[in-house]
């Protein structure tokens, strides 16, 4: 860490942080609280400078994973290596990771400047360097003239930026963020997602980002790890995890998924393709992949269903249907089908088409 700091200082401002991210190797990490297993044999490896979002609902173990990495929770077993060096024996203050907390955890008795300067002051950096670096970092998070402000005089978004500035000022190799945007309103959250992503592209700090918001994970991450009940269900790029979820949980957690058992699907769909891999007994179709017009160019299958309701939702229509066998499912019809969806009303029979490439075979949950 000291090396990273000095190397970065002597380097030019633009190339300041390139290559300071560390690789992380988490293997069979386990943590139980009484009967409750917060982490079960979690394996996760991160490349230097990678941005991994850990996505899960509350109680999935995602925060426990972050806290174990930060050093605030001691796992029962397993190992964490950063740059090949085991870190579990080290206390939190020796790990040198940047941590951004859900409630920001800013020091209320210090100004913005002092909050951001705190990591440098405790490292006893010279005063001139502290002033320069703090100004620089505040500039980076777009809080250039806020140094003298009290924390209580800041908005939620500004507080988040201060927390971020404070976590990156000592140029950590690893940045851990625990639902940092969950307290912000939607538009600010989306703005900050892009900003944090841009900042990451500039700094290349290996980042573990915990969130329960699937869109946030899809927006920001290089890879997404979906967690449930203390286990990582799947870890993959946003596109693959959305297009090719490995099981029903992941399929339903991200986006709108229609899932049928393959035995049922063979009755429901006409011209259903065959699965490529064995052991995949569920058929999954994304709600937005249904269309009312048969695609001319590609192989496709069909499904006949009874319309239960048609709901206009701005950018698309939510059509609630049930199969002739009585299984309910929701389709999201796009603008391209505007005319056909307009003629659809409750009780009508509808035929929907799905491209073969949009039919996914997935595993049942363990």
């Amino acid at each position: 860490m000291a090396f990273g700091f000095d190397a970065a200082r002597s380097a030019g401002a633009s190339a300041r942080n390139s290559g300071t991210g560390a690789d992380i190797e988490i293997s069979s990490l386990t943590k139980t609280y009484g009967d409750f297993a917060a982490l079960r044999n979690v394996d996760l490896s991160m490349k230097p400078g990678e941005f991994v979002a850990v996505l899960g609902s509350s109680g999935s173990g995602k925060s426990t994973l972050l806290m174990a990495l930060a050093g605030f929770i001691r796992p029962d077993s397993g190992s964490i290596r950063v740059r090949g060096k085991p870190v579990l024996g080290e206390p939190a203050n020796a790990r040198g990771f940047g941590v951004v907390f859900q409630n920001y955890a800013l020091f209320p008795h210090m100004s913005v400047f002092e909050n951001v300067a705190f990591p440098l002051r405790l490292r006893k950096r010279p005063k001139a360097e502290i002033n320069e670096r703090v100004e620089q970092v505040l500039e980076t998070v777009k809080l250039g003239h806020f140094g003298a402000r009290e924390i209580s005089a800041l908005s939620g978004g500004q507080r988040q930026r201060v927390a971020l500035a404070r976590a990156i000022i000592y140029e950590p190799q690893v940045l851990l963020m625990d639902e940092p945007l969950s307290a912000l309103d939607k538009s600010l959250r989306e703005e900050m997602q892009i900003e944090i992503r841009e900042l990451h592209e500039k700094l290349h700090i290996t980042t573990l980002y915990v969130t329960h918001d699937q869109r946030e994970a899809l927006t920001m991450a290089d890879r997404i790890a979906v967690m449930s009940k203390g286990e990582i269900m799947q870890i993959d790029t946003p596109e693959r995890i959305y297009r090719e979820p490995s099981n029903e949980f992941v399929a339903r957690f991200l986006g709108e998924a229609v899932v049928f058992a393959r035995i049922d699907a063979e009755q429901i769909f006409r011209n259903l393709p065959q699965p490529v891999q064995p052991g995949r007994d569920l058929v999954m179709v994304r709600g937005e992949d249904f269309q009312l017009e048969p695609p001319l160019d590609e192989r496709h299958c069909e499904i006949s269903a009874i319309t239960r309701a048609v709901v206009f939702q701005g950018d698309s229509w939510l059509v609630k249907l049930s199969t002739t066998e009585g299984l309910p499912f929701d389709a999201r019809i796009q603008r391209a089908d505007a005319q056909r969806v307009a003629s659809l009303s409750a009780g009508d029979e509808a035929v929907l088409y799905i491209r073969h490439s949009d039919v996914h075979f997935i595993r049942e949950d363990a």
């Binding site: 930060a70 050093g71 605030f72 206390p91 939190a92 203050n93 020796a94 790990r95 040198g96 990771f97 940047g98 941590v99 907390f101 409630n103 955890a105 800013l106 020091f107 209320p108 008795h109 100004s111 400047f113 002092e114 300067a117 705190f118 990591p119 405790l122 490292r123 002033n131 140094g147 003298a148 009290e150 404070r166 976590a167 000592y170 851990l176």
Partner: protein, 303 residues
Amino acid sequence: MSASVTSAEIFAGEDHGRFSRLFGPSLRPYLGLLPGIAIVFLCVALPCLWLLYLSAFDDGGKLSAINYERMIDQVSYRRIFAMTFVVSLETVLCCVILGVPLATFISSLGRRSAALFVGGILFPLWTSLLVRAYAWLVILQRNGLINNWLISTGLIEEPLPLAFNTFATVLGMTHIMLPIFLLPVIGAMRGIDRSLIRAAASMGASRAYTYQKIFLPLALPGILAGATLVFVMSLGFYVTPAILGGGNVQVVSMRIARSLATYSNFGAAAAIGIVLLLSTFALMGMSLIVRRIVQARQGGMHA
């Protein structure tokens, strides 16, 4: 007839409207404070003014400044005031030295064990001041527990002068005041967000650095509140200095008692009370100013 009734009703309605405007929505929430304000006025402000009035008369009932002149002329008064403030400050100091680490420990405990400790702290408050003062006497006096034990082990030959001095007085007062100091401090410390401590650790701060730079500054309002409470209450202590000081520790409350009991000089007693009150205000004001200056300096450190 019917017309006059109507006009009377209208008048009554108007009157009610005017009343509700005066004591209406804006003032009504504060009406509940009236009994409290009345009690404060009757029990605090009025007696103080009465004291001020009493202190302005001499023995013969003539208007004079003799009661105040006496305090300036006689050195013994200055010594008594100095002793009172020194004993009180030492008590505050002992409470801070003993109380801050103890409060830190208790505030770090879980809810249940913390409640147990707080209960343990409050327990001595149920026993009388007198009993506790004499209990210390049993322990500290010439043939008390400590001296007897030290002599029996052969460490000393002559008994140590443990009782009837400032040491014993401050010890006894600290014993009594510590719980009162601890409660606001524990409250302030338990209110500190634990994620701040974690945040400091994540940035590389050691436990000692975090304690010094984050935990203590955030607990400071509670510590100051506790210290102020202890100081002000200590200024008026009578029983403990009387018993454990054994006549060697003269504090203001004892001089007031003597003025009243021995000389029946209400004017002199009142004047001492007024001077004690004013000097306490002056001291508190000074500490407030110092705090402001320190805060301003902290805030403007980087400017």
